[in-house]
C-alpha cells in the first residue's frame, strides 16, 4: 500500500528561552497523534534524528541577536516552504530587545568580565525584519492549542483561525470582572488575544505578553493608567517588556520619555 508522504516539519531556535518549542512537547494528549501526522525532520530539542531540508513547514522560535543568526535565518527560509514564527521573541524581538533601548556595550560590561569575547549585535530583531514570514503566532509563551491550529492549517493549505481582537473580549467571554474598574492598571484593552485572559482571572492586570492587537489605542490607555496613579516611567515599563519593539508598543513606550533601559533613575547601573 502506498502511503501519502507526510509533511516534513522543522523547528528552529534563535535567541529565546525554549518555552515556545516546549509548547509542542507540552501537548501531552495530542503529541503521539501529532507526530504520526507529520515527519519530524529537524527538532533537535526532541530528537537526535535530524534530516536535511527542504521542509514543508518551519517553526521558528527566538529573535536575531548575532550576525551568525542573521545568516542562519536566511538558510532556514531558503529550505522552507512555509515559515511560521512562534512567540514574542521571533515575532517582536522578545525581552532581549530591551537592549535596543539601552547601550549593549554597557550591558556586556555589566555581565561579563572580558567584553572582548562577546560577539553580539546591538539590537534584537524579529524574524520578519530579516526574511519573509508566512504567519506570526504571538505570545510569551504561545498558546499550545493555537500552535496546533496553525500547524494543521498550514498543512491543510488553509488560513489559521486565530482571533486578533483584544484580551478584553476574552475577559468578557469568561465572565471576568474588569480589573481596571477595580483600580488595577491593565494592558488588556490593547493586547492581542490568545492567552484566554489569564491575568485578570488571577486578579492582576494583563502585562501584554501577547503584544499589540490590531489598531490598538495605546494613547487612550496610557491616559487611563495615569488616572489610576501610574507615573510615565510605569507606563513605559509596561509597554517595554516582552514585545517592546512591536511597533505600537514601542511608540507608546517612547512617548513616555527618553529613558535609557539598563539605567537606574537615569544613572548608569552598578556593575557586578
Amino acid at each position: 500500500m502506498s502511503e501519502r508522504r507526510r509533511p516534513r516539519l522543522a523547528v528552529w531556535k534563535f535567541a529565546s528561552c525554549d518555552g515556545c518549542q516546549l509548547s509542542l512537547l507540552d501537548c501531552e494528549d495530542e503529541l503521539l497523534d501529532f507526530v504520526g501526522a507529520v515527519e519530524i525532520a529537524n527538532f533537535p530539542e526532541a530528537s537526535s534524528a535530524i534530516s536535511e531540508g527542504p521542509y514543508d513547514l518551519s517553526l521558528v522560535e527566538g529573535s536575531i541577536t548575532t550576525a551568525h543568526d542573521a545568516e542562519r535565518i536566511r538558510m532556514v527560509r531558503a529550505q522552507s516552504k512555509f515559515l511560521v514564527t512562534i512567540g514574542a521573541c521571533a515575532t517582536a524581538g522578545g525581552v532581549q530587545a530591551l537592549r535596543n533601548f539601552g547601550d549593549v556595550k554597557d550591558f556586556i560590561a555589566t555581565v561579563y568580565a572580558s567584553p572582548e569575547y562577546i560577539n553580539t549585535l546591538a539590537t534584537s530583531t524579529p524574524i520578519a525584519a530579516h526574511v519573509k514570514v508566512d504567519f506570526e503566532l504571538r505570545g510569551c509563551p504561545i498558546n499550545k492549542l493555537q500552535l496546533i491550529e496553525v500547524v494543521s492549517a498550514h498543512l491543510a493549505g488553509r488560513v489559521p483561525q486565530v482571533a486578533n481582537h483584544s484580551v478584553c473580549i476574552e475577559c468578557k467571554r469568561r465572565g471576568t470582572v474588569c480589573v481596571m474598574m477595580q483600580g488595577i492598571p491593565c494592558l488588556g484593552p490593547v493586547t492581542h488575544a490568545g492567552c484566554g485572559a489569564l491575568c485578570p482571572s488571577y486578579r492582576r492586570g494583563c502585562y501584554g505578553c501577547y503584544g499589540p492587537m490590531e489598531t490598538p489605542n495605546t494613547a487612550a490607555l496610557a491616559r487611563e493608567w495615569k488616572a489610576l496613579g501610574a507615573a510615565p516611567r510605569d507606563v513605559q515599563r509596561a509597554f517595554r517588556s516582552f514585545n517592546a519593539v512591536a511597533e505600537a508598543f514601542q511608540k507608546e513606550g517612547d512617548a513616555q520619555g527618553p529613558f535609557r533601559e539598563g539605567t537606574v533613575h537615569g544613572r548608569a547601573a552598578d556593575g557586578n
Binding site: 531556535k13 518555552g19 552598578d270 557586578n272
Partner: protein, 430 residues
C-alpha cells in the same frame, strides 16, 4: 609519531538550548574535553537595573521556559529578603506545591522523553514509543500532572502569571486543587515504575569524586529554603555565596565557569540534592531507592536518571500531602513594602541551585542584579565527566565515543537557555 584526532559534535540534540562539544585526543589520551554553547547572550542582568521589583518574577521567568518557577522563586525570595518580608503557612506550602509541579514536569520530560532513549538506543521518545508505548504514554501523563499543577496554581505551564513577592496574586480554593489529587495518585505509581524501569538500564561503569552542593533544610527535602552545604564541609548562609564561589571567564572559551574558590569544580542537581538530603526523604522512598540499587550517595552520573525518578516520587507525594493539608489563606499574599537594600534568593531548580542577588533603591527599583543558573555551575563537572567517559572508550570508533559523550552531557539535563551566561565559543587551535 603522535596520533591526534579531534571529534566534534556540532549540534547536541535533546538538550534544551544549543551546545556543542570539542574533544581533543593525542597518543591515546584525552587531552581536552570542551563543551561549547551556541546560546546568544540575552543580558538579563544588563537590562534588569531600572526595572521594578514588581516586574521581576515575570521578567526572570523568561530566562528559561522549562524551569520558570525556579527563576520566579529565586527572585521573590530575594525581594522578600531585601524588604524584610516573611511568607509562611499555607502561602509557603503553595510555593512548595508549584515547585513540585515544575520538578514533575521537568523531570518527566527529561527522564522519559529525552534521556531514556539514550539507554535503549533510540534517537527520540517518539521512535521509542513504537516499542515502549505504555511507558511513553505514562511518562506523558506524569508530565501533564506536573503541568496541571502549574496551570491551576500559576495560570499556565510556561511563564506562570500568579507568582508575586509576598505570595500569589490569587490563592486557589480547595476545590481548585481537588482534581490534582487523583492525577497525583496515579502519577506517584507511574513514578515508582519509572524508578524500577530505569534501574534496569545498562549503565557504563563510571563514577566521579564530586563535591556535591545543595540546599539543606532542617526538616524538608529542599525546594526554596535552606543553608548551602557541600559534601566537603561547606555550610553557609546563601548570602555568603559570593565569598565561596566565583564565575571565571575562561581563556579561549566564552562560557563562564562557576567554581568553588578553594576547591574548583562542584556538582549541583539531583545527585547533589539526593546525597546531601537522603535523610530528609520519607522511609518508604529511601527503601525504594535501595531497591533500585542506589545507596544514600550516588556518584554515578548516568544513574542520575533513577535519582530523578526518586525525586519524581517525592514530588508527587509532597504535592499530595500539601493538597490534603490545604486550608485556603485569607488572602493571596502578605504586604510588601519596598526599602533600599540587598536581597538573596537560592532555590533548587530541577537542575540544581539557582542563585540570585539584587540591590534595590528605596522605591523598589532594581539597582543591580546577579543570577547564577545551575548549568553554568555544572559546566566544569560536565567537562571532567566527558574527559573520563571519552578516556574509557578512547580506542572505540568515533561514533561510539560521540554517542556516549552526548549521553554523558544529557546526564545533567543541561538547560542551556539559562543564557544569562552562555555564549558562542570561538575555537583557537595551534
Amino acid at each position: 609519531m603522535a596520533t591526534r584526532k579531534t571529534i566534534r559534535v556540532d549540534y547536541l540534540a535533546r538538550v534544551e538550548g544549543e551546545g556543542a562539544l570539542d574533544l581533543h585526543i593525542a597518543d591515546g589520551k584525552v587531552t581536552e574535553a570542551r563543551l561549547n554553547i551556541f546560546e546568544p547572550p540575552r543580558f538579563f542582568e544588563g537590562f534588569l537595573p531600572g526595572r521594578s521589583y514588581t516586574e521581576l518574577p515575570d521578567i526572570v521567568a523568561r530566562i528559561c521556559g522549562i524551569c520558570p518557577i525556579a527563576y520566579q522563586m529565586g527572585a521573590v525570595h530575594a525581594v522578600e529578603n531585601a524588604f524584610g518580608v516573611t511568607v509562611g503557612g499555607q502561602l509557603r506550602a503553595l510555593r512548595r506545591l508549584i515547585y513540585c509541579g515544575e520538578w514533575i514536569e521537568s523531570h518527566a520530560l527529561h527522564v522519559v522523553m529525552l534521556h531514556a532513549p539514550d539507554f535503549l538506543g533510540y534517537p527520540d521518545a517518539i521512535r521509542m514509543a513504537a516499542e515502549h508505548g505504555e511507558v511513553v504514554k505514562n511518562g506523558l501523563f506524569l508530565k501533564k500532572t506536573g503541568n496541571e499543577i502549574l496551570r491551576i496554581l500559576g495560570g499556565r505551564e510556561i511563564h506562570p502569571v500568579n507568582v508575586r513577592a509576598g505570595g500569589f496574586y490569587h490563592a486557589p480554593t480547595r476545590a481548585d486543587l481537588a482534581p490534582l489529587a487523583e492525577m497525583l495518585k496515579r502519577s506517584r505509581d507511574i513514578a515508582v515504575d519509572v524508578v524500577r524501569w530505569t534501574a534496569g538500564f545498562p549503565f557504563p561503569d563510571f563514577t566521579q569524586d564530586y563535591e556535591f552542593v545543595a540546599l539543606r533544610h532542617p526538616d524538608e527535602y529542599p525546594f526554596n529554603e535552606g543553608r548551602l552545604v557541600s559534601s566537603r564541609g561547606l555550610d553557609i548562609d546563601i548570602a555568603e555565596y559570593e565569598n565561596e564561589f566565583e564565575e571565571r571567564h575562561v581563556a579561549h572559551s566564552t562560557a563562564l565557569h562557576s567554581v568553588l574558590k578553594k576547591r574548583g569544580a562542584y556538582l549541583v542537581g539531583p545527585l547533589a540534592r539526593y546525597a546531601l538530603n537522603f535523610d530528609r526523604l520519607p522511609a518508604s522512598i529511601q527503601a525504594l531507592a535501595r531497591e533500585a540499587g542506589l545507596g544514600p550517595v550516588c556518584a554515578d552520573p548516568f544513574r542520575s536518571i533513577t535519582v530523578r525518578g526518586i525525586e519524581l516520587v517525592y514530588a508527587c507525594e509532597e504535592a499530595l500531602r500539601i493538597i490534603a493539608d490545604y486550608d485556603p489563606p485569607s488572602g493571596g499574599s502578605v504586604a510588601v513594602e519596598p526599602r533600599a537594600g540587598t536581597g538573596y534568593g537560592c532555590t533548587e531548580a530541577p537542575r540544581g541551585i539557582c542563585w540570585h542577588r539584587y540591590d534595590f533603591e528605596a522605591d523598589g527599583v532594581i539597582r543591580a542584579a546577579r543570577i547564577v543558573p545551575p548549568t553554568s555551575q555544572n559546566q566544569p563537572s560536565i567537562e571532567a565527566d566527558l574527559k573520563g567517559v571519552a578516556q574509557a572508550l578512547v580506542d572505540a570508533p568515533d561514533d561510539v565515543i560521540r554517542g556516549r559523550c552526548e549521553q554523558a552531557i544529557r546526564n545533567y539535563d543541561p538547560c542551556i537557555s539559562c543564557s544569562t551566561h552562555f555564549l558562542k565559543l570561538r575555537v583557537h587551535r595551534a
